[in-house]
Amino acid sequence: MPRVTPTSLRKELFANPLDGLVSVLLITGLAAVGYRLLHWALTQAQWAVIQANSTLFAVGRYPIEQQWRLWLLVALLVAATGLSWGVLRGLPLRDRPITALWPRNDRIGAIVLVALGSWAPAALGLTLSIQVRWWGLTGLLLLMRWLAGRYGSRLGKAATRALPLVWPLLYLVGMVLIGGGLGLVPVGTNEWGGLLLTLVEASFAILLSAPLGVLLALGRRSSLPLLRWGSVLYIEFIRGAPLITLLFLGQNILGFLLPGGLAPDRIWRAAWILTFFSAAYLAEAVRSGLAAVPRGQLEAARSLGLSLPQALAQVVLPQALRIALPATVGQFISLLQDTTLLSLIGLLDLLGTARSVMANPLFLGKSAEVYLTLAVLFWCCCAALGLGSRALERRLNPPSLGR
C-alpha cells in the first residue's frame, strides 16, 4: 500500500479542475451519507433485537444443556485455524524466501482479532462467563498461530501435507459433537439452526462437492464417449437451472425417488442438493485448470511408465488444481452465500432465523438492524475466505512456474 502524503493526495484527487470538482462532490456526498449512517447506528437503531436473539442467531434451538459441545467444537476449529495460519505463513514466498514470524499483515490481523474478541462480546451484552470464553478463544487462536509459526517448520514437509487432512477429520468430529452419538445425547436436525445450520450445510457441501467436481471435470475431458457425454449432460443441466428450483425439487421429489423411509430429512436433502449443485460449478473451475496444463505433461508421465490414474493423480491434477484454486475458492464463497436460499424452502438457517425473529411482534420493524448485522457477518466470512485463498495461491505457485 503506497504511503499517503499531501503530494500524492493532490495528484490523486486534484490533478485537473474536473477531477477536483468530482472529488469535492464525492467527498461531500460520502460525508453526508456516512454522517447519517453513523447518526442512525448510534442514536436511532435499536440493537436490542440482536442482543436478545444472539443465541438464536448462533445455534437456533439447540438445547442449552448440550451447548458445551458446540463450544468445544468452536475451540477445536479455532485451534485448527491458528495452526493453518501459522503453517501457511511459514511456507516460503517466491519473492521472499524467509518470512518474519509476524509479518505486517499478520500483525494487523492479530490486532483486529484482539480488538474484536474483547469488544464484540461486551458490545453484544453477553454475560461475563461467555465473554471470558471469547477471550479464551482469541488467546487460543493467537497461541496456536505462534506455536505453528515458531515450531511448524521443524515438523518437515509431511506435516504440511497432512495439514489439509485436519479439516475433513475435524468435520467428522464436529458432526459427532453436533448430532450426538458415540455416548453423547443425540440432538435432532430440527433443533439445529442459525449460523450453526448455515455452516453445517456449507461445510458438508464443500467437502463432498470437491471430489465430485474433480471427477466430473476428468469425466468431461475423458476420451470415453459415455463418461464425457454423461458429465457434460450433468454439468450443463445443473448449471442451467436456478438453485431454488433444484432445492424445490429436492424437497418435493427426492421423497418419491427413494423407497419409503430411506429419504434423508429436509436438512440433509438440502445439503445433498447444495453438494450436487456446487459440484457442477466446481467441475467447470477444475476443467479450466486441466485445460491449462500442457498435454505434454500427461504424455511425459505416461511414457515414464505411470498408469493413467497415477499420471493424473501425481502429475496433472496437482498442477491443474493449483491453477484452479482461485476459481474453486470463489465457488466455495458463493456456496456459503447460496445457503441463504434455504430460508426460502422453510429451513431456519441464518437468514431463515432472521425472518422468523422479525415475524415476532416484539421485534417488528427492526429489519434494518438485523439485515445489516447479517450482511456484515457474511461479508467478513467471505472476505476472509478470499484473503486466505490469495495467500495460499501466492505460496503454492512454485518459483519456476511464475505467473
Binding site: 490523486e12 470415453l224 436456478p242 431454488i244 421429489i253 437468514l351
Partner: protein, 330 residues
C-alpha cells in the same frame, strides 16, 4: 527375454479392451441407478394417485396475481397463470439486462479513472456487493428501503416522477394523447405508469448485484487491451474519444462479450429469488400451483424447461453478438 517382449500384455493392460470395459461398467451402474430411481418414482406416484398427467393445467387456478402484464384472474386456468409468471420474469430480466449493463459499464470503467477516489469507490463497490448474498440484498432492498419510503403527500417528488411506499410513478400518455404525470387523489398516488415496490426492490437488487460482476468483466476487458494501442492511437492523431470508439472498445468487446453471457444467464436464474420480495414471477406461480395441486413432477419439469429455454435464448443471442465482435480474418 525376447519371448516376454513379443508376448501380448495381460488383458487388463489392453489399450482397446480396458476403455470399453470401463464404459460398460459405468453404463451398467448408471442404468441400474436410474432404473431403481424411476421404479421407485412410478411406484410412489401411483400409490399417491399422482401419475403423470397434464390435465390440471386447464383447471381454474383460483389464486390471484398481484401485478401482471398479462390479464389474469383467479378463474383463469393454471397454464395462463404460469404464462403470466413467465412474462413477469421476462419483464424483470429484460429491464435487469439494461440496468446492470449500464451500471456495470460505469463502475468497470470508473476503475480506470485518473481520480483516485473514484477508482477506489469502484473497487469498494465491487468488493462489498460480491461478498454479501444476493437474497440478503433483495430482502434488504424490499423491507429496509422500499417499504420504508414515505407515503401520500410526504413521498419523494421529482418533476414528473414520484417515489412512494406504494411504488414508483412515472408520466405517460393516458386516454389517447394526454401527457399526464403522477397525481395525488385522496391521498393515493396515481399515474399512467406504475411500478410496484416489489418489482422495484427485485429490479434494484438484481441490477446492483449483477452490475458488480459485469464491472469486473468490463474492467478485465479494458485491461486486456495493451497500453501500446492507446499510445499508437494517440500518435496517429486520434483524440481520446475517437481512439476509445475506434481502437479500444472494439478490442475490449472481444473479451467482454463472452463474460457478459455468463452474467446475463446468472441474472436470469437469480430472478427466481423474486419470491423473497413478494414479486410474482414464474417460480412463485409454480410454487403456488404445486402447493394447490400436488403435481410435483409436472411443475418441476415446466420450471426447469422454462429456465433452460431462457438460458438457451440468451446464449444464442450472445453467441451471435460474439461472432460480430470477433476478429474477422480474411
Amino acid at each position: 527375454m525376447a519371448g516376454r517382449l513379443s508376448a501380448s500384455p495381460p488383458w487388463w493392460q489392453n489399450r482397446r479392451l480396458v476403455p470399453w470395459l470401463v464404459q460398460a461398467a459405468v453404463g451398467l451402474v448408471l442404468v441400474v441407478v436410474i432404473a431403481f430411481l424411476l421404479g421407485n418414482l412410478v411406484r410412489n406416484l401411483s400409490a399417491a394417485g399422482l401419475l403423470l398427467s397434464w390435465r390440471w393445467l386447464g383447471q381454474p387456478a383460483s389464486f390471484d396475481i398481484a401485478e401482471s402484464l398479462l390479464p389474469f384472474s383467479a378463474s383463469d386456468p393454471y397454464w395462463r397463470g404460469l404464462l403470466a409468471g413467465l412474462v413477469n420474469t421476462l419483464r424483470v430480466v429484460g429491464l435487469g439486462f439494461v440496468g446492470s449493463t449500464l451500471l456495470g459499464t460505469l463502475v468497470g470503467s470508473a476503475s480506470f479513472s485518473s481520480n483516485g477516489l473514484v477508482k477506489r469507490l469502484a473497487r469498494i463497490y465491487v468488493e462489498v456487493i460480491r461478498n454479501i448474498p444476493l437474497l440478503l440484498q433483495l430482502v434488504f432492498w424490499y423491507f429496509v428501503v422500499f417499504l420504508a419510503l414515505p407515503n401520500g403527500a410526504a413521498a419523494i417528488q421529482l418533476p414528473g416522477i414520484v417515489l412512494a411506499k406504494s411504488g414508483l410513478f412515472l408520466p405517460g400518455f393516458e386516454g389517447g394523447l394526454h401527457w399526464t404525470g403522477p397525481s395525488l387523489v385522496d391521498g393515493v398516488w396515481q399515474a399512467p405508469l406504475r411500478f410496484t415496490p416489489e418489482f422495484g426492490a427485485l429490479l434494484t437488487g438484481l441490477v446492483v448485484y449483477t452490475a458488480a460482476f459485469i464491472a469486473e468483466v468490463v474492467r478485465g476487458g479494458i485491461a486486456a487491451v495493451p497500453k501500446g494501442q492507446w499510445e499508437a492511437a494517440t500518435s496517429l492523431g486520434l483524440g481520446p474519444l475517437l481512439s476509445l470508439r475506434r481502437i479500444i472498445i472494439p478490442q475490449a468487446l472481444r473479451v467482454i462479450v463472452p463474460g457478459l453471457n455468463t452474467q446475463y444467464i446468472s441474472l436470469a436464474k437469480n430472478s427466481s429469488l423474486a419470491v423473497a420480495c413478494g414479486y410474482t414471477d414464474l417460480y412463485s406461480v409454480a410454487e403456488t400451483s404445486l402447493n394447490q395441486t400436488g403435481r410435483a413432477i409436472e411443475v418441476i419439469v415446466i420450471l426447469l424447461a422454462a429456465y433452460l429455454a431462457i438460458d438457451l435464448v440468451i446464449s444464442l443471442v450472445m453467441n451471435g453478438l460474439n461472432r460480430l465482435v470477433q476478429i474477422k480474418e480474411r
